[in-house]
Symmetry: C2
Subunit: 440 residues, 2 copies
């Protein structure tokens, strides 16, 4: 059987990784796929560099449009990134009847519904294992491995940059700015780290997992996105003393609200018990914890980024497409796990309506009655305290830190209680609030 022909758009880190792994393991991949998988053309703006790197193994063009329009090509790999030209090229490839493999989480989280609908109409596949948690086959696990389950929730460390920074802050007691600088020097963070540290990248991935888990459209605009830039070293330390670690988690849950159902979709720093396996995922590693009604908790762990781990996911998609190419389009794995005509639209809840536990830190005057005032505010809001930590004030200090862990309550209750606390004369500055998940 003749090889399936692939066109690659973008020869950056992942593009080159894909090119290299596919070449290095071509025999083994063919033995699995039953058919050769061949990159016949690469598009990159820097054609000279692309020519050198591909060494004449395939055509090199400067204009990606040429690949998308090439009738010889069966599958287009989009590794350009962003929403602009990438979107145009993906839609054009689909319109031309080509299957698409992409690692572009930003594109899918924002324009996925349009792209998947177009693919559905044309009977082609858009595969995106590489878009979430790099090489970890989490899309496959969710979409195929756990089909028996009603998924209850997903919580994932799905951004390696921020996990690296948080690990360094904890290990070495660094503040955020220093840890970020170190991560940049070591190549774990980009020169402009905004997308990572502000939680946007994690939210893109959580949005995609949310759709697949619950059979809802991708709705990035409704995700709550909060990064780690304001996280202080002192809170990591206090959390540790209370038996918790702070991780940037992408969380999505199906919950009961007002007699109906709602979806929580949120990215924020989160305290999790230190003894949980996922709390011990360090450095730039990723891990996704999935809770299903039949299977219970399962965890998927591995490298979330990098040339070859991401290439591993891109190539797995190529093999899948090769295998499924002859299946009745109605019988292939649906893009978002559920059949397009069987999607629901359970509402994504505003942040004020979500339910979780909280870590609160108040900097308070060291005088009688302060604790009574604070606990009264919480009691009035029917928020129970699960644990408390009060530090002795340092010498010459008139203020000290009080830390409280609450039981589960709605976000709006906590926000209201914090406003009352901050209005107290004995509370200095603002109250630090970090959400806490037991993940059990």
């Amino acid at each position: 059987m003749k090889p399936i022909k692939v066109g690659l758009l973008g020869l950056g880190t992942v593009g080159l990784g894909t090119f290299n792994v596919l070449r290095r393991n071509q025999e083994e991949i063919k033995r699995r796929a039953g058919r050769g998988i061949e990159i016949v053309a690469v598009a990159d703006l820097n054609t000279a560099r692309a020519l050198e790197l591909t060494g004449g193994a395939c055509a090199v063009v400067g204009d990606a449009q040429q690949i998308v329009d090439d009738p010889e090509i069966d599958i287009v790999i989009e590794l350009i990134g962003g929403y602009g030209i990438a979107k145009e090229l993906v839609l054009k490839a689909i319109a031309n009847g080509k299957h698409v493999v992409t690692a572009n989480k930003a594109l899918l989280a924002t324009h996925g519904n349009e792209i998947f609908a177009a693919a559905q109409d044309k009977g082609v596949m858009v595969a995106f294992e590489a878009a979430v948690a790099g090489g970890i086959p989490i899309i496959k696990a969710l979409r195929e491995g756990l089909t028996a389950n009603r998924i209850d929730w997903i919580a994932g460390i799905i951004n390696g940059t921020t996990n690296f920074i948080l690990s360094e802050m904890r290990d070495k007691g660094l503040d955020f700015a220093t840890a970020l600088k170190q991560a940049q020097e070591l190549g774990y963070a980009e020169a402009d780290p905004t997308f990572d540290i502000e939680g946007v990248d994690a939210a893109h991935k959580a949005t995609i997992m949310s759709a697949i888990a619950f059979g809802i459209p991708v709705q990035f605009a409704k995700a709550h996105v909060e990064g780690i830039a304001n996280l202080q070293a002192v809170d990591i330390r206090y959390a540790e003393q209370l038996g918790y670690r702070i991780k940037l988690l992408g969380i999505t849950k199906r919950v009961r609200v007002n007699g109906g159902e709602g979806i929580e979709l949120r990215v924020h720093p989160t305290l999790i018990p230190s003894k949980r396996l996922i709390a011990n995922v360090e450095g730039a590693m990723n891990a996704v914890l999935v809770q299903g009604d039949a299977i219970g908790a399962t965890l998927y762990y591995g490298k979330g980024a990098g040339a070859e781990p991401t290439a591993s996911a891109v190539i797995a998609d190529l093999v899948d497409i090769t295998r499924l190419a002859t299946a009745d389009p109605e019988h292939r794995v649906p893009h978002l796990a559920f059949q397009p005509n069987a999607m629901t639209n359970i509402e994504i809840l505003p942040m004020s309506e979500i339910t979780t536990s909280y870590y609160l830190r108040m900097h308070v005057a060291d005088r009688p009655g302060v604790l009574a005032d604070l606990t009264r505010i919480l009691a009035d809001a029917t928020i129970s305290i699960d644990a408390m930590l009060q530090k002795e004030p340092a010498e010459d200090e008139t203020h000290t830190d009080i830390i409280m862990l609450t039981h589960q309550t709605q976000e709006k209750n906590v926000v209201a209680a914090i406003a009352k606390m901050e209005a107290l004369a004995s509370v200095a500055g603002s109250v630090t609030k970090i959400r806490l998940e037991n993940l059990s």
Copy 2:
């Protein structure tokens, strides 16, 4: 589209779990599969009980043969277990053109080659996600998620009973017999626990993973099988002091030998560094660590047994078959990950030829020169010592324990060195040898 029709053989724990999950989540499963999946008949020797449990939802027969011969049935689920009647029924179902889903690791590890060849000839699928690590979609990960990779090795905690026992031994300082008794009382070990504690069950699973990872036939007969019945509490304690935990691992590796390649396939108690994520998998949980050349290390964690976790895997297979039923048989996922005509037969190495590190414990007389004699024996065998622990003898004791961790060496070297050590007058009894893997 009308539902796909399923016949279930065996309404034990997993059979009933499958029946229940399929019924409870039928709507959600249909929304994923694009088609209803319906158990239309159940076979169980205890028909009265089966009638009661299924409540008239499907036909109940006492003779499994009836289901296998029923022309209405598309897929047969085999949950009878063992090699006898189960094998006969699976082969008959295949001969009758039915797809098969089975959780029967013993059957596949010993007769898999024959069964898969028969299925290939008839163009039907035999799916077996439930045969390894219960609900964890590890077969899917290996067979589809990691297709880009040359798999280097797999190491798994793939027997929950023994992991529970080992966790209890470590946590509570129990000896093996007490921990086993406790596991039996709590339902984590069967009345006859032989298959679990002797490592046979883990070896069945490791054999299946080995075939899928490396493209070789299943060869249970060549697996090295060693259980935990002889493991002593003292070794768990010493290992802990040296920064290691002891787990029963199923290990399979592709290695270079004499200019060619060989496969290691072995199950035995293993020291692993405590800081590894997999070392912290406790109780009856399972976890599989897979190292691939592109992706690096990935870990898959979850429940390895139980009614609903295993049902989760059985049903995922049903959905897969439903989706792939319309694919060209040549293009479906091959049973053992590689196309049948692209399997190799890299030799499985005899245990004497494997390479690993070792934990050695000697009970020695507390007198000068003993350590010199022992280290001389190792030096002569060119075995390097990586760490050593010598305990002060207890009061009134003339003997003490010496523990050594070696660098990597061949098993036969260590066996020869141990024979020399045991011949020394200063060494009392036999030398305890436990293999050690760094998993890095």
